[in-house]
Amino acid sequence: MSVIAPKFRLSYLIKGITDNIFWIIVLVTLLGIPAIQIVLIFIDFPVIDGEVWNPFRVFDAMTHPERVLPLVKNFMQTDLFKIVAFPGFGFAALIAAGTIFVERKMLAKLQLRVGPFYCGKVEGILQLMADGLKLISKEIIIPAKADKPLFWAGPVLFAATAAAFVALIPVAPGMVVADVGMGLLAVFAVIGFFPIITIVSAWSANSKFPFIGGIRALYQMVSFEIPLILSLLGIVMLTGSLDLVEIVESQANFPWIIFMPIGAIVFFICILAELERIPFDLPEAESEIVAGWLTEFSGMMYGLVQLGTYLKLYAFAALFVVLFLGGWNGPWIFPMEPIAEIITDGVVLMPDALTLEVVGLPLFSQEMINGTIWFILKTVAVIFVILLPRGVFPRIRIDLLLHIGWYKLIVLAFVNIFIALGLVYSGIIGPGGVL
């Protein structure tokens, strides 16, 4: 695809470079300086640690890099950073990408295959990037009789709802995108959106296979939402609050899964059904209805739907960790003592005389790093267990699915609630309990 230059002359090259330099200088001067002036008139300087950060400080920091650290630290506490990078979209998307790759590789090894192999030097690591590029470059085809506004809105809404779900999960002490007082209730509300979006995108495609798939997805999601919510009521009773951060803090000594194993199992099965993973992947049953409600999506719309699905996977796994496995609590593994002191106080070369340190560290508090590491470990473990049934089980039939959702799981969820009530009223655990 590259065109070999017919002739190469040094003078042409130098001319090209000087042309570019000239135009850059002109544009920066004519447009950039007025833009900076306007920005400086209307925007206040940030105040960090009691000092006003005016442009002179910024230039100064550019030459002494360690003085940028308070600025960076302040930036990490802002909402923008939390939404975009950590613990919001960027973090979740990274974990989602890792999940897709691990799923394909793990499934392949389970099935005596190799999986992605050629992209990237090491066992096909760059396969996802290749897939992403391919999806971006494909044409987006809309069926002629489809309902266009709804059809376009479907995948965007799906990804947006999944992102909203991700926003509610606390990752580390102080790091949660949306600190809502009734976090769990907000989670239920957001989960309730997914069937609506599925049926909207299935209906608007105006074709038989998406329609059948959408109806099946509706049956499945609705019938498993009730046991999902019921199984978590036990936790709410035991902690006495709906706030996710408080639920995690209440598990400082023991995770709730020890007392609520039935609730954990019911919740796990409902997760598999909500995510449409095998054995509950009826809405996308490939040997019966091609691809279900995703049939008509092509190109980046399909990419958005996949992104939404895997964000949902991460969010559900993170929710499981937060509610049942103790969130970010765990023994202190990092940073260990000598390193911790070095980070905060610097290396003491000669006592009282010479200390080598970087002012402004630590960027994060120690608890936050430890908490994040434990959270990631637990989430990854739960994701593994969610991915595993795909290689082991066949697809379940629809009447068995509804039977499980409406009879067995609701009964088990109620049993779980009675256990929780028993524990609270006997005063063992819960608000005002012995433990």
Binding site: L110, Q111, A285, F393, R395
Partner: protein, 377 residues
């Protein structure tokens, strides 16, 4: 319900409640045939199988070819199981021409036939897995099948459609170290077979989907004339290798597997149990085989049969396959009729599917060990 206008066209009155579905040839869950089902809600009220999409006129074309040139032609109905479909043809022509097959050829024929049986059953199991949505059960049998296809390639030179059997023996002898390689691969294959139990046959979701669905009682199985694994899953102990032994099956030590329930689970389990028996047969045959000898009877060019007819049958991967050869003294056969087990089991399909749930259809239909290409010939 329908008025016959021309042969093949009919007018039907449309009913409000009943929906006619074409589980057609272009469907990921149907194979190369069409099943016209009428459903009332989720229950099938009428089922009409419509094979014939792969009908090539094998029997008619066989009348134009000599007895020897018919061999690559007649093995095409089932390309994996080609040795088993040529077996009764070769036995029949040997009876017509009065040929005596050498001992070593008989043992090698038995080994090739059993390998073919395993190859076919693995492929059938793989498709059964994928119809139920179990991708691991698709990958494992197809992967293990490669071991056997490798052996067949060493034996015959081709992976499928071997054209290995000729009237009077087999086409060529096996390479020198074939016995050791075969024994090693069969031992590993048997170990792999045992792992299917954990992932497939003891899988609770599979059991809940296939147990007690599509139950074929013993009387119905006999009356409808079903054969092969369908018959043995309903409690009838009939295997032609035991009842009417051909070649050296009398001297080999194996048993037939019979289950009594007659549901889809039993029908899916019998072929897997049969594969263990095939491994036993192959090991036994390798041991008892004469170490050297000719493998083929020299034939005159364009052999002519007498003025008689023969009917020979053989137990193939799907059931009893019969050849009715009528000859009138010319080098071409007068009439060849292939009685394929898939076609004989086809009659069980409307019998079982009527009254069944639509969601059970793939589990029941494919468990009948139905190979569409063979049924159409």
């Amino acid at each position: 319900m329908s008025k016959q206008l021309l042969p093949g066209l009919a007018i039907e009155k449309v009913d409000d409640r009943i929906m006619t579905l074409n589980i057609g040839p272009q469907h990921p869950g149907s194979g190369h045939m069409r099943i016209i089902v009428k459903v009332d809600g989720d229950y099938i009220v009428h089922c009409d199988p419509d094979p014939g999409y792969v009908h090539r006129g094998e029997e008619k074309m066989a009348e134009y070819r000599n007895y020897i040139t018919n061999i690559p032609h007649l093995e095409r109905p089932v390309i994996h199981d080609s040795c088993n479909i040529l077996y009764p043809y070769c036995l029949g022509v040997e009876e017509l021409l009065g040929l005596e097959v050498p001992e070593r050829a008989k043992y090698l024929r038995v080994i090739a036939a059993e390998l073919n049986r395993c190859v076919y059953i693995e492929y059938w199991l793989a498709i059964y897995g994928i119809f139920l949505g179990h991708s691991t059960m698709f990958m494992w049998p197809v992967g293990d099948r490669e071991l056997l296809i490798d052996l067949l390639e060493k034996m015959t030179g081709a992976r499928v459609t071997h054209a290995y059997f000729v009237p009077g023996g087999i086409r060529n002898d096996v390479p020198p170290n074939f016995e050791d390689v075969c024994l090693r691969q069969i031992n590993y294959f048997e170990k792999r077979l045992k792992e299917y139990a954990a992932v497939f046959y003891d899988n609770p979701i599979l059991i809940s989907r296939t147990k007690d669905t599509g139950v074929l009682s013993r009387e119905d199985a006999i009356k409808l004339g079903t054969t092969g694994s369908v018959l043995r899953a309903s409690g009838v102990d009939f295997d032609i290798r035991k009842k009417e032994p051909y070649d050296v099956y009398e001297e080999l030590d194996f048993q037939t597997n019979v289950l009594k329930e007659g549901d889809s689970y039993a029908r899916s389990k019998i072929p897997w149990l049969d594969m263990f028996e095939s491994c036993r047969i192959i090991r036994d045959a390798l041991q008892k085989m004469p170490k050297s000898g000719s493998v083929r009877v020299k034939l005159k060019p364009k052999p002519k049969g007498g003025d008689t007819e023969v009917y020979r049958r053989v137990e193939s991967g799907r059931g009893s396959l019969g050849f009715h050869i009528v000859s009138d003294g010319k080098p071409q056969p007068y009439r060849i009729k292939i009685s394929v087990p898939s076609f004989r089991n086809l009659i069980a399909m409307p019998h079982l599917l009527t009254g069944e749930k639509l969601g059970n259809m793939p589990a029941v239909y494919w468990s009948l060990n139905y190979w569409p290409v063979e049924a159409d010939r």
